[in-house]
């Protein structure tokens, strides 16, 4: 167990694993997302209340889902940074924060566009929407703080603390639709209950969530590799790798 943990902390070992995984992640992710979105857009039945505007769900839910789980993953990595001083955990946080911000923006944007025909308004300051906006600002904060401190170790610690403090927002987002009166509909998928949709709707939705997860995995590997190349420039294996890549 400890050996695995130590290996996981080694940038060189991670670099190799990521290179093997990346093609699988990318192509499986693109295929699943394409099937999910294609099915959802053209074949899934129309919603009896919302008509066709509900088809936005096939990108809205995956974006929102990922936006939150990326933050949770960052919080776990932040804890690892603080407790074990693992470099790779900080590499993860710094690499995925911009992707998380993009996903949160997409969740907000698609939600606003969906809200117009469904609720009659682009935006309302209710609990779910406001807490998602706070998530976006948390991502911006993480990116800005990481960029503002040039010392690698202090930057890692400061960012980890910010990420961990911000994690309190995640249960607020999750339960906002249950704790407060809101225009937002309740969660589509729950672990304990069957989805409230017919399978012709939730199967493509599940496919696009999984597909976007895999694409995120690919992006995370790619960006972490870049960050490792930038940080470990003095080590021999990076030098050899850079030389091999350029030729």
């Amino acid at each position: 167990m400890w050996q695995i943990f130590h290996k996981l902390g080694s940038p060189k070992w991670f670099f190799g694993i990521a290179s093997t995984l990346m093609p699988w992640l990318l192509w499986a992710g693109v295929a699943m997302l394409a099937v999910g979105i294609g099915w959802g857009l053209a074949f899934a039945p129309q919603d009896y209340l919302q008509g066709n505007s509900y088809r936005i769900i096939f990108i809205h839910v995956p974006s929102a889902f990922l936006a939150q789980s990326v933050y949770i993953m960052m919080a776990v990595a932040g804890l690892v940074t603080l407790v074990w001083r693992m470099k790779l955990a900080d590499v993860f946080v710094k690499s995925v924060a911009p992707v998380g911000a993009v996903l949160t923006f997409l969740a907000l944007f698609t939600g606003a566009v969906w809200g117009k025909p469904t609720w009659g308004t682009w935006w309302i300051w209710d609990a779910r929407l406001t807490s998602m906006l706070i998530l976006l600002f948390l991502y911006f904060g993480v990116i800005a703080l990481g960029a503002a401190i040039s010392d690698e170790k202090s930057s890692a610690r400061a960012v980890a603390v910010l990420v961990l403090v911000g994690v309190v927002n995640i249960p607020i987002i999750k339960y906002s639709v249950e704790w407060w009166n809101t225009l937002h509909q309740p969660a589509t998928f729950k672990l304990t209950e069957k989805p409230s949709m017919p399978p012709e709707m939730w199967v493509p939705l599940l496919l696009s969530v999984l597909g976007l997860y895999l694409i995120f995995g690919w992006l995370a590997c790619l960006r972490m590799q870049t960050e490792i190349l930038a940080r470990e420039g003095r080590t021999r294996w990076v030098k050899e790798l850079v030389q091999a890549q350029g030729n």
Partner: protein
């Protein structure tokens, strides 16, 4: 198919602009993030190569005392 024709698919019962705007922005931003990440990687590799090309020159400078005047930086 949930639609009778391609035209109906595009119009989406009046919700077409909303649906297509969302999908357009989604693919635009995901594509831009991907391209940006790939460019960043190429940039870092090029930067490391430049640093490596520059390094041997620095190593070959003779060690020992030199009497050239060095201006201390002021920042």
């Amino acid at each position: 198919m949930a639609f009778d024709s391609f035209g109906a698919f595009m119009v989406m019962g009046g919700h077409g602009p909303y649906v297509w705007a969302c999908y357009f922005v989604f693919f635009l931003l995901m594509g831009a993030t991907t391209l940006w990440s790939l460019r960043q990687r190429r940039f870092v590799i090029a930067q490391q190569r430049r640093r490596m090309d520059a390094a041997p020159v620095r190593d070959s400078t003779p060690a020992g005392a030199s009497f050239t005047r060095i201006d201390p930086s002021r920042d």
